[in-house]
Symmetry: C2
Subunit: 351 residues, 2 copies
């Protein structure tokens, strides 16, 4: 075991505060990564505050991790000391079920192990995330950071990036596709960049006229204001996909009207109740309401490589770990464009 | 114009009764079909009674039509007098929009013209359905009845058949697919036969243990009783598709649990509100809730040809047109295995 330092919530009511703990000694298939940057995801805040009623304390959040390999287990073959690496939302899974063997570890029949708020499959110890100076992870769940991908800005790709990438790829978005991105936050801004990168025509659908310029600056081709009933009516039947990144429960009906026949509305933002809607909205065009969760390891690597090749990066604001409580407050007010990234060098000053 | 006879509802409260009316004179691209058999669909009853609050009276129902060509317009090329033909739920559409040109006329951007309760696109006259001695239909909307397909039993293929065929094909059901058919009525029994014909492993999910033997007799490989919580739990994550033919609004949650990752729940039975359900049921496996409406003309012909080649026919009970009110009553009690077909020769005795 090695001594680690980081920031944790000690209870649902406590602010994030410095925390010392231990990481396990390396197993034969483990990689130790010294963390350079960690993105700040809405899930971090939800978990720290027990919004989902399943938090384990102390809670060290963080699942958008970029760092450097400092040690490898005896059986590790894909990494060498000094390699830049990335770790996302998962650190283990059964590796035997049909989902794991097809590279969709996030849907593991025996439940994948989350990077934080989980329990180690071998010894049952709690998993602690990336708001810390290093992490020890099974090699299969460590990704390669491609050359040329800015390590500081790449971090949010590990959650916000793959969460939008996986549905875009699964439903075969490409040149000729018409994609509406609903909501323009951490997920939405990545949805825009990735869908544009894949060659789609991209429209941002937002309640806020103030976000129109931002949407176009991110690369969106059009903006649709969802409160403008005439504009919404005029856009009926014109999208192959609505990528729904809205973070709260909401009526999907108006978005189903936007879909062309065979179109799909994919929920990736709010894991919450979907209010009742009329089935005729689906039946009258072989349409679907779907959902999607992060992505498997192979597609996460594919996404990182795609972003490196196409110079796609999240828009980020770098903070020190000492600023995390303030960052949580700003994130709650959507006062960030579009993702905070913790420079973990700041932790060294404190511990 | 030619004199026609049939049965109609004259108001929402009236029983079906003999009715005389006219059919239009043939246009250049029209085919006249003398009706031999007409299936009795739940929609017929709903429309006759104004359950959908949009009925036009007098209402001559019937959109599962089998007959013989007796006259063709000057520009008709695909039919000759004497051919056996079939007509389903649509008799016209714009033929210009992207849906019509791809053969998905049921999703016509300008709304396809229904076989009854619609208005003719040329002269605005009401459309009257197949509970009658003949019909005049634009050639494009007339299907060929393949040799070897029993005309009396084939009628329900035109609605119940294509309604289940289209989603099975769209979502690529075939050998290796695991399909659950929820509900075992007119639609459900065709869903079983067609999915089995396509090579899928088919399970009937029903509330009624009494239907288990019927399901197996129809070719289903397994039966799952939806009230048996242990059985439902044991079947979790084991289907690629749930074909939902249940005719009333209901919670889809328990069925979403049955789906494997990437599975789709397709609503074809109840065009009604879908009660609120938790989005996590979709997100946790890239699953979908979809809907589907009948099918386009090319896929309807494909389905008829498939049924002829594979000896697939609905289970039917033949009635005289004079029995239609009693048949409606029995249909409301699900007292039919599985579809009534009117022998239109019975009409000749009356008019």
């Amino acid at each position: 075991m090695t001594h680690a330092t980081g920031y944790a919530a000690l209870s649902a009511d406590s602010a994030m505060a410095p925390f010392s703990f231990t990481r396990r000694a390396l197993r034969a298939n483990d990689v130790r990564v010294d963390i350079r940057y960690c993105g700040v995801c809405h899930s971090d805040l939800h978990q720290a505050r027990n919004d989902w009623h399943n938090s384990l304390y102390p809670c060290v959040p963080g699942h958008e991790i970029i760092g450097q390999v400092t040690e490898i287990g005896a059986d590790v073959t894909r990494f060498e000391v000094g390699d830049m690496a990335a770790i996302g939302c998962l650190v283990d899974s059964c590796m035997e079920c049909s989902e794991c063997t097809r590279g969709q570890e996030q849907y593991c029949a025996r439940r994948a192990t989350p990077t934080y708020n989980g329990k180690d499959r071998t010894d049952g110890s709690p998993t602690f995330g990336g708001y810390s100076n290093h992490i020890v992870v099974r090699e299969h769940f460590v990704l390669k950071l491609p050359d040329g991908l800015n390590p500081e800005r790449a971090a949010p790709l590990l959650c916000a990036g793959i969460t939008t990438w996986s549905p875009l790829r699964h439903w075969r978005v490409g040149p000729g596709s018409r994609v509406a991105v609903a909501g323009l936050g951490g997920l939405g801004h990545m949805g825009v960049k990735l869908a544009v990168g894949l060659g789609a025509e991209v429209t941002v659908v937002t309640t806020s006229p103030s976000k129109a310029d931002d949407a176009l600056a991110l690369g969106a081709h059009k903006v649709l204001i969802s409160s403008d009933k005439d504009a919404m009516k005029g856009a009926a039947r014109s999208f192959d996909m609505v990528l729904d990144t809205i973070p709260v429960a909401h009526d999907v009906g108006p978005y189903l009207m936007l879909l062309a026949p065979r179109g799909v509305h994919v929920v990736v933002g709010a894991i919450d109740m979907i209010p009742s809607f009329h089935g005729g909205l689906l039946v009258g065009g072989q349409k679907s309401v779907a959902g999607s969760a992060i992505g498997g390891l192979p597609e996460t690597q594919e996404m990182l490589d795609f972003c490196a090749a196409n110079n796609i990066l999240p828009d980020t604001e770098t903070i020190a770990i000492q600023d995390i409580n303030h960052a949580f407050e700003r994130m709650e007010k959507s006062d960030v464009k579009y993702r905070f990234v913790i420079d973990m060098a700041s932790l060294g000053d404190e511990n």
